[in-house]
Symmetry: C2
Subunit: 433 residues, 2 copies
Amino acid sequence: MSDNKSIVEDPNSAKASSRRKFLGQAAAVSTVVASGSVAANNLPPNVPAWQKHLGKPVNSNPYGQPSKYESDVRRLRVPWLTPDSIASISFTPLAEIKGMISPNGLAFERDHGGLPTIDPKQHRLMIHGLVDKPIILTMEDIERFPTVSRVHFIECPANSAMEWKGPQVGRLQFTHGMTNCCEWTGVPLKYILEEVGVKPEGKWLLAEGADSASMSRSIPMEKALDDTLVVFGQNGEALRPEQGYPLRLLTPGWEGNTSIKWLRRIEITAEPSYQREETSKYTDLLNPQDPEHKDLIGKAYLFSWIMEAKAIITFPCPEKPLKGHGKYVMNGLAWTGTGKIKHVDVSLDGGINWQQAELNGLVLDKCWTRFSLTFEWNGEEILLQSRATGEDGYVQPTLKQLRKARGVASIYHNNAIHTWKINKNGEVESVQV
Amino acid sequence: MSDNKSIVEDPNSAKASSRRKFLGQAAAVSTVVASGSVAANNLPPNVPAWQKHLGKPVNSNPYGQPSKYESDVRRLRVPWLTPDSIASISFTPLAEIKGMISPNGLAFERDHGGLPTIDPKQHRLMIHGLVDKPIILTMEDIERFPTVSRVHFIECPANSAMEWKGPQVGRLQFTHGMTNCCEWTGVPLKYILEEVGVKPEGKWLLAEGADSASMSRSIPMEKALDDTLVVFGQNGEALRPEQGYPLRLLTPGWEGNTSIKWLRRIEITAEPSYQREETSKYTDLLNPQDPEHKDLIGKAYLFSWIMEAKAIITFPCPEKPLKGHGKYVMNGLAWTGTGKIKHVDVSLDGGINWQQAELNGLVLDKCWTRFSLTFEWNGEEILLQSRATGEDGYVQPTLKQLRKARGVASIYHNNAIHTWKINKNGEVESVQV
């Protein structure tokens, strides 16, 4: 057990009595009402302006928008990271995300040839290659199949890539924001493959997008017949353009770019197609010259599909510092491409002692899972870490362990334990320990 | 068992072989590719325009929007239903909704005094009345509490009210669209009540909104301490203005208007407060004069909080007719305010024979649940019905049963089994049988 008892709440303590302490903190910024100050009409003294006048007509905007007071909650690019804005990335503002769903307006995107504007009436999906009956399907055809809806995360394998060599971006949105999690609706790919009849030698498929990059990846048949979907719905509505409108592949738990957006073609093949975006990119040459990692020289981390277990604390974080001493609920997100999250542990001393966090809400397969831990902060410096463990027993590694396994030349698949340093003034910075 | 075998798929038949028939239908509108027609470069002959040019820059819109091709998917009002657009309703386009989440831009709203624009920095929640320590909380205070995220439906008790006396609106959006289902994030109300300390005589609470109607309802303490939340998050982002930004009460499974929007005040009381919107409205005088229902004369359906079990077929429906003969997957939504959906049954002959539908996706407490049933349509007229059964054993009634129990003067709580008539041309209309 931890020796951090002074700052971590004993999980066995009476919850009700511990919760009362939130008020002690809250009272610092809120007003305790003296019984005499509540007016006879039972309204607080200051009735706000918006209660004194009729509001806007109902459905002024038939497609609703966020409040104007949320205008700073936005996806952002990192201009120096990508050479232009066509092959680029927008990051989810994770510090502002609530629950397990990423809202459609804020879900990260990675485009390789810009964002195409596709007319769904003209869009087609061709399935050909090693099949009995090649076919071209319209959107209407696809929507005739039985559909399923599943909540799954998507993560770019380059998420946290900027952190391999030390903290470069002092913001949660940029250290971990190449991920989103939505309810996706579509057709299991296996139903469509049954229609065309895959020949026995068809062991792979090539999926291609209708963007200017013709973004394409090879997918083994085993994944295609497992949980891969062809989706047209996202959080209850049609896919957003940034997510592949009108149609994308969804390979749950795998590198985000294998979930080919603007899906137009699936070719059944005997072997992988070794496309550009799975050989020159999205592959890590392990350690080209490092004598300390001789066994890795000349080897590559190729077809590294699965996004491994990862947890990140979303409060506190650089965007959301602590404000004054007292009791806080630390909050975070965990996910793994192999299945469900089994548990998440949190350290307040840079990884020496660990406490098990509480999992909040639904714990679903290949889905963001919320965790939280109550702690008391009295102004000391803290090195805050979170560590995910999957139901398969895989434990999120330290950066040191990752470097030992993969050398120091990697770009992708950085799922190392991340450290937030809480400074004495409550501000939070990204550090490596 | 049903004698509808000719049009309903035997659920025990081999699924794979039955699915293959979807192609038979699909082929009517799609193109089967002759093996010679796939060009040497493996691209379909017509490479679409959007694949030949770079797309738009990434994050051109840092808060993303739907495709322009979805511009007809909108909330709508029924102008004749409400005397003005300030106290009015916008309906969810249920025929276009996918999965169990209603997208924030399309979630139905019911406002009683228009839509207020509230500055969250100035917004306050006062809790007073029969408490040890009355208090006024800021949004920042509220967000300091432990939070939970839960997916729950909200339904206006007036949903389907227009259908009591026969079909008046020939559109699913209007017969059933006063409902939405979102992932809500917030604080269990009991945590806040623990902070203020409810006095033993405090058995009710009055919740009041900061809109110009000061919309208010009485809630029994039992519900407040059970699953009631004070929420600030909706599908991963801040509440939308139409849903009560920045703060609303959420009383899962209860009449939508008890989930007070723009929540500013909770007063603990000994008795219900008998507010306007729970006495003159949202109460049904049962049968003022009907001699056939003598026992109901002078009685009222008051504090009728729970939204009873209900199922509705969302495809086919008036907005989504059948197009040609063949195999189809019927799709629908079911929910109940008492807990989970146990099963949904479907009839194709106006309620004589019933088939159990498949429940798709997650089956959650007080949450939209998807159901589907595969059927073959060969051009005959069908009277299509769906009937929800809750885990409490409650079975969705017929309109006749409802009228027997509540007379013919009701406005609210019409959860009767609904009938879609499929005409020989595939078009769908709302009928009563």
